[in-house]
Symmetry: C2
Subunit: 513 residues, 2 copies
């Protein structure tokens, strides 16, 4: 066992392989960028194939290779299951899969794991049945959890080398120019897929909408594509927007949102040309609305908004309150369509430009403030967005640790308790974001400012929001719902939690019933 | 000496190093893509530096390294001279320079060569005083001439490894997001620069128009940029458009244009959704006009037009006669501005996507027809666009050999003679494009169809344009102006002519006076 600087035990074999977390900038070093093996496409060559099976055959996919998918279709994705079913039928085994994330709809992976088709997984997150199965220990090798920026880093540095990327595209021409804004299952930005397309040895575009050459805008260019396959349907448009939340009416969430917006609009960063990223939760959307009102009142405009985009952001853009949107992913249909309608102002970027800690500068580095959620926050400000209070994997790392560190002021918003479960605890089950990256925590009873930001402590002295220490928030949570029961973990490591730089910030062990 | 398949002598040492041309597809092989050494940029790092000198210092530029520039400012470029002067002052020697091309305005390079600052050059072309100086043998090492697609290939495969790219950008934000459509010296597409930005270890953006973050559209992204420098002026807008030609009134050129447009509009490729690339010469622009008239008459529209773009193309786009423009370079101000105005239909691409023979499929592979110029054409259809009738280097390889091979039907247009000089000769001074890539030659007296295209010979049997053999065209040229005098070359190789695949198709020797 090796202890990292957060005091988390990392088994020696993994510590040696990955290194252990020892500060946000401790492992940011020069490197030689990964490269791909290219088979040139000659003037009369055709890329259009007749089926997914033919594409798998043409790529020469073999046992033990690494394949990837993107998660822009979210709960509406058909592509990963279609491809994995075909691969399973062909008898290919022992694959590593590296989707940018995994949704509930991908529960069929459980069978592919049990049958030996899939033996390694890396993903931003795991949901529902698959998360539970992994937590029960159905895999021999631990899943590797990576943040969105960390995944881009892993691909760029070659920690993940993708042999074949199978990328669903709402529209494509026969030469592989693909985008997410035209077609039937429009998902908007293809920001995560763009990274895979650029670094994978071979790329198969799977679409249900073939358009004449040249398809524009070009999110994934023909120069990154080997084959194109047309299928009946790549995704369910309703599933793509599933879980995208409306403005909340929950009084607790509204209070959190009000406090968060006060922190932002009273911060030193709130001025003409500021920038922000909000999330997709109910409280988070409410923050956007409160900030909007204050911006109108103060006559202040933002230079840009960033991140996973919702229609709430698009409205700010179209009102002229935000100059530009930088978009790595869209969470609803209107924001997907805005990419075309507001071309030039609503801008698609890839995950490398969004959040990689090893790029020549990611967009989050320019962020003034961001709002992040939490399943748990501990008295060191460490945040868990991965495992539930029962220790079972059900969340996703997402851009949490990326934006928390990179933004000039990061806010973590959360109710004090959820049902009978405290959100504020002595020690989080799983660390995704180190407390040193978190600046302000916002709850319905008030805020806690991280003492490692004395500038903010000083600045917010007169702020008209109740202030507590993080320890006080934890104590108040325990007063309400009591001390949480300890979780019964086994000895098997079922997930490795990479920090965005590639070192291990934590591990997750199997659950005993 | 080694003879390549065109019968050109290649000195053994170069033949061994580069290989020799032996057919358009003979050296198209799988390869591992080149990669760059990246120094990550952390959240609070600044890229904005105070001067070109500081940028050179920060990059750690040293004797013997390779630096690059782009030629989008054409005769209006200030950047290469500014940077080279500073480098010379700093005493750095023995550099290899790899600009995408070199213009008349870069004559100061002669001094840098003589002073030992520059010891190797690769470029698409050489003009005027520099071309003459090179032809006289002022360099110890031969210049390497590469086509636009060949240069992209060389960079992608690592044949050229750029240590530092100094890239002029009409506008940039302080984090390096750059484009060519905003600012003072707008050049439009930054297609050639985009390749350097992607593969160079270090990239310095030099701009005279700094804009707020994030600058959009993003032609060169922040993730490809290390430093940003603001100078008073990067280029002369008039120089950028210099040489861009108007519609010709020369009767010989009009006749050539009429014949060329007849060939195209009577070809098997002329149908709804066809595609074409024309050039910037007077006859070439006239072809565009004649084709336009025929398209209107026939009710036929093109899917796309490609290449170096002029306003003539933009007019077709805005008339709806061409669906899309794919743009690697703009030759005049209106076409530069169209990129923004017609965003989504007028599309910027990099040189790799334009023409690289080793990409996963370049745009020229989708071309139905292209129109190319010539300084000389010989009886094997080989084309010279590099050396004059005096053997002196004054031209540029450009996209000539790329498009000639890739397009389904390539036209080379040229008057039979120029002044007292025959264009059609027994043997061209310098081969840029092998005759096997040329399908139809068009002159003011009629056309010659390459016999290696029996399908076209058959198809054009009834075409109402006089037809000749290529030998007849040469004989007619000699009848008019007589047999050309042989050129007195020396023994020194002053330029290596790479074919687009990287093998040597020819060499150029020094001129004796």
């Amino acid at each position: 066992m090796v202890l990292n600087t957060l005091g988390r035990d990392i088994p020696a074999e993994y510590a040696e392989q990955y290194g252990v977390f020892s500060g946000e900038l401790a492992a940011i070093n020069d490197y030689q960028e990964s490269s791909r093996h290219i088979q040139p496409v000659k003037p009369r060559d055709q890329k259009l194939l007749s089926s997914i099976r033919e594409a798998i055959e043409r790529t020469g996919l073999k046992d033990g290779m690494t394949i990837s998918f993107h998660h822009h279709f979210r709960e509406g994705d058909y592509v990963m299951n279609l491809v994995m079913d075909e691969i399973a039928k062909m008898g290919i085994k022992n694959l590593s899969i590296a989707p940018s994330s995994i949704a509930n709809v991908h529960a069929p992976l459980i069978e592919h794991i049990k049958n030996g088709v899939v033996s390694n997984i890396t993903s931003s997150g795991l949901r529902d049945k698959l998360g539970a199965a992994i937590s029960e220990g159905i895999m021999e090798n631990p899943v590797v959890i990576r943040s969105h920026g960390g995944r881009a880093r892993a691909v760029a540095r070659g920690d993940i080398h993708i042999d074949v990327a199978f990328l669903g595209a709402p529209s494509s021409d026969a030469y592989g120019n693909a985008n997410g804004t035209k077609g039937k299952a429009t998902c908007g930005s293809l920001g995560y897929a763009m990274v895979d397309a650029k670094y994978a040895d071979q790329v198969v575009i799977i679409t249900d909408t073939l358009v004449p050459y040249p398809n524009t805008p070009v999110s994934i260019p023909q120069t990154d594509v080997d084959y194109v396959v047309v299928v009946d349907a790549i995704g369910d448009p309703n599933g793509i927007a599933k879980g995208a939340t409306r403005f909340t009416k929950n009084p607790k969430e509204l209070l959190i949102a009000e406090y968060a917006s006060k922190v932002i609009t009273n911060s030193p960063y709130y001025k003409e040309g500021f920038s922000f990223q909000t999330g997709t939760g109910g409280a988070s959307l409410a923050v956007t609305r409160f900030i909007r009102e204050q911006m109108i009142k103060d006559g202040i405009k933002a230079n840009f908004a960033l991140g996973g985009i919702t229609n709430a952001m698009v409205e700010l853009l179209e009102e002229g309150l935000v100059e530009k949107i930088i978009d790595v992913q869209d969470f609803d249909h209107p924001s997907a369509l805005s990419l075309d309608r507001n071309a030039g102002k609503h801008y698609e970027i890839d995950a490398n430009m969004y959040a990689s800690p090893l790029s020549k500068g990611s967009a989050i580095n320019q962020l003034d403030t961001c709002i992040l959620s939490a399943l748990e926050v501990d008295t060191d400000f460490n945040v868990n967005v991965m495992t539930g209070s029962d220790g079972v994997i059900r969340g996703a790392s997402g851009g949490h640790s990326d934006t928390a560190f990179a933004a000039k002021m990061s806010l973590v918003i959360s109710p004090l308790v959820r049902g009978r479960i405290p959100t504020f605890v002595e020690k989080v089950n799983t660390v995704i974001t180190p407390g040193t990256s978190v600046d302000v925590v916002v709850t319905e009873i008030g805020i806690a400012i991280n003492p490692n930001r004395p500038d903010l402590v000083e600045h917010f002295k007169e702020l008209k929001v109740p202030q507590f220490t993080i320890k006080e928030l934890q104590e108040k949570a325990y007063e309400i719902v009591g001390h949480p029961d300890p979780i019964q973990y086994g000895d098997k490591v079922v997930a490795l939690i990479e920090y965005r730089d590639g070192t291990l910030i934590d591990t997750v062990k199997n659950i005993l019933h």
